[in-house]
Symmetry: C2
Subunit: 251 residues, 2 copies
Amino acid sequence: MNVLIVYAHPEPRSFNRAMLDAAVETLGAGGHTVTVSDLYAMRFNPVAGPEDFTARRFPDALQYDREQKHATEHGLYAPDIQAEIDKLLACDLLLLQFPLWWFSVPAILKGWVDRVFVNGLVYGKGRRFDAGGMRGKRALVSITTACYPQMVEADGLLAHLDINLWHLQHGTLAYAGFEVLEPSAAWSIHYTDDASRRAYLRAWRGRLQGIEHETPKPMHVLADFDAGWRLKPGIVPRTAGHRARAGVEAA
Amino acid sequence: MNVLIVYAHPEPRSFNRAMLDAAVETLGAGGHTVTVSDLYAMRFNPVAGPEDFTARRFPDALQYDREQKHATEHGLYAPDIQAEIDKLLACDLLLLQFPLWWFSVPAILKGWVDRVFVNGLVYGKGRRFDAGGMRGKRALVSITTACYPQMVEADGLLAHLDINLWHLQHGTLAYAGFEVLEPSAAWSIHYTDDASRRAYLRAWRGRLQGIEHETPKPMHVLADFDAGWRLKPGIVPRTAGHRARAGVEAA
């Protein structure tokens, strides 16, 4: 496989970085080709703006997604965006390695998505879920977090991890067409000792050795929904987000 | 009320900006004091990093949240962060006005949260939910989106809007101690005509005229959870996220 790892941590001596290094080493040893976008080291600009295009279709007022569509058709992306698009297109597996900040990605990684997941290629004109631009590829979220795992169980303080990651795993990665693998989490990493950290790294290496054989998380396909974008009668909700259905309606 | 509006859109001629202007005008006319952080106009830096502190407790390796705790205790924040902290502390209502990008905030606004919601003040040492640093304040999310509303119903293509906004409304705002009001959404804004846009602005102005009388969304309090961070027996799940419980457990 071609693996693109997008890594977003400010500190090269962090445990998050150790997780990155373990992935690079293990996947390389497994015969995969690994590319790393180290966003902090690259000083990646996360702020979507008018300078993202080398020419504009609508110069009077920035309509970012419409401008993306035009830029996709005519090859008008700023070089830093085009370089990331090229890496994205070449990958079979996208691995996001980051510390969970406010139950989402650090801003520098959110900006990588905002600027690189472009209209006309990743999404747009019906490109989403099983018709998404990234269909045929897989994605994997790998976090370090101060949380304890019981906090992100279904009845935990924060609700299920899949609900916390919904905007990312479903609204971003699955929406773009990726098949999404189970997330990896190194828990309460601030409060662990060296032995626990070594155990996390060992488990991570072990998992990555067989990563190409994993079964992705269940996701709905577009055919599960009717013309009004609602689950068709008889379709059983397959995701944590859609399973919130009965409860929300009863409220 | 003192109202802090944090606004994140790159285009001054956008409909999102019209929503901001309507809020500034209506809240001002209602006797409230309004402060706006226009993140794009400020060229706000969203990338959390070592330069965020004027002095460091752990200079060898950046431990961002521990460094925040030290900076809170000793007043060591970079001026751009301290200015936003001061606005946050002074507000009674925090209004986030932004376009929904990948079911979350634009990166520039994520970075505002990453850098301004600091340890030792907003969160940390038991400060969360009803013991959060921002308790006594309210928060309101106002989005524009290309989505149609039926897509973010409980059985919609994307699952319920509350599930998509979970990381923000629960994991960030409620976690910090805010009481969270119902979100405001201007739907499928790319495909609406001027009359619909005027109707959105009219409804938004009408809502804001009585905003101080609204009842916040139901959220759990810390006392609903046991020592292992799980909902106590008999506590009925009150939020969209916790209502996903039964379904997830049955899977």
